[in-house]
């Protein structure tokens, strides 16, 4: 019977262990040429903010879409809205506005980059580049762009990327239009003793009946004005906002982006089944036509 060569096996195992220790711990594969999808979440947020700021400056939606697709979000719209809510909560309103504007632009029927075709088999890098020098957009018509992205294909040297990712391909450019003003589609008195007294609830929907986060709401009364935003209570809804009205004050409310004006808003007096009175609330629903 042949003797098992324990000494050889042990030597091999030690060599294997040392090799693994060296390659995993001492000198792991150096990370270079990473894709944005592999970034840490907070850096992805930075990347997304930069995309939204760039979109706000140029109005180039296909380019913004191509960039967003690099981050590998399951739903860019939801991710943008969610990030906007976090920024609103931390008081970063400008950035939040830009993210919401991009989310709205993506949502308003211009989802063009759905055919991001993988080119992994030929390791081809595609760089998007615009063909024309355009002046900065006028502030009041930010979406008047007609440039067409051009594809420039370059054969890249074969490198080991950390995460392989389909290269997005820009497609035809549509000219988005500025959305129509929001319409006040419902105004209801709410007599619910479980809600805070005088609660004014506002719901904002876009034309596709999806709730809009980050919508600025302006409420005014005789001696003052305040602003608040949808999306600060995502557990209720992305397009939800509320405000507590004081008794005997009449308010007027509108959306900052343009909407019908809800005027003469006064907290109604309600009664419980047992006959006690309490201050009720109002629920307003805005929708983009």
């Amino acid at each position: 019977m042949k003797r098992i060569p324990f000494d050889i096996i042990i030597t091999l195992l030690i060599g294997l262990g040392l090799g693994l220790a060296y390659s995993w711990l001492i000198s792991p594969l150096r990370v270079v040429d990473a894709d944005p999808i592999a970034l840490r979440a907070d850096f992805k947020d930075n990347y997304r903010s930069a995309i939204a700021a760039s979109y706000a400056a140029t109005g180039n939606l296909p380019r913004a879409q191509a960039r967003l697709s690099l981050l590998g979000d399951a739903s860019s719209i939801d991710t943008l809205n969610s990030q906007a809510q976090r920024l609103i909560a931390s008081g970063e309103f400008t950035q939040a506005d830009q993210l919401v504007a991009l989310a709205n632009a993506l949502e308003n029927g211009t989802s063009l980059i759905s055919d991001a075709t993988s080119t992994s088999e030929s390791a081809v890098t595609i760089i998007t580049a615009s063909t024309a020098t355009l002046p900065p957009p006028l502030p009041d018509i930010p979406f008047q762009f007609t440039e067409t992205p051009q594809l420039i294909e370059t054969q890249a040297p074969v490198t080991q990327s950390v995460v392989s990712n389909p290269t997005p391909r820009p497609t035809r450019t549509l000219i988005p239009t500025v959305g129509a003003p929001f319409t006040l589609i419902a105004q209801d008195s709410v007599c619910d003793a479980n809600l805070p007294n005088g609660l004014l609830q506002v719901l904002v929907f876009n034309s596709k009946r999806r709730q809009v986060a980050g919508a600025k709401i302006i409420i005014t009364w005789d001696n003052g004005e305040e602003q608040f935003f949808t999306g600060l209570k995502p557990e209720v809804g992305n397009g939800y906002a509320d405000y507590v009205m004081s008794p005997n004050i009449t308010y007027t409310l509108r959306l900052a982006v343009g909407s019908d004006i809800a005027s003469g808003l006064t907290a109604p007096t309600c009664q419980t089944p047992s006959g006690e009175t309490f201050l009720g609330g109002i629920k307003l629903t805005f929708q983009q036509p």
Binding site: L12, S23, A34, L39, R40, S54, L70, A129, V162
Partner: protein, 97 residues
């Protein structure tokens, strides 16, 4: 065998990476984004802060690298001009506000 397994067959999984590990074309595109925004905002401090995610290099050095890449890889002239404008602004910007 251990090295082959650790480096080729099952290398350390990388996630939660920092932006300085991004491929050069992604870095250049990020610089272009900042340049596009700078054209409208004209705020070099804000542009520098956006570029700071790449680490300890100076903002103008980061932008210059983006410009180099853009020139070498056939970016559109309009994009190169935007990045050039950003580089110039950052070189002139003292960083003291």
């Amino acid at each position: 065998m251990g090295l082959t397994y650790g480096w080729v067959i099952d290398p350390v999984d990388f996630f939660d990476l920092t932006p300085d590990t991004l491929r050069a074309d992604y870095k250049a595109d990020y610089v272009l984004m900042v340049a596009e925004t700078y054209r409208t905002e004209q705020d070099p401090g804000l542009a520098a802060r956006r570029l700071a995610i790449f680490g300890s290099q100076s903002p103008s050095a980061i932008a210059s690298q983006g410009l180099e890449y853009a020139r070498a890889n056939g970016f559109a002239d309009s994009d190169i001009a935007l990045i050039q404008e950003l580089v110039t602004a950052l070189q002139a910007w003292s960083g003291i506000q």
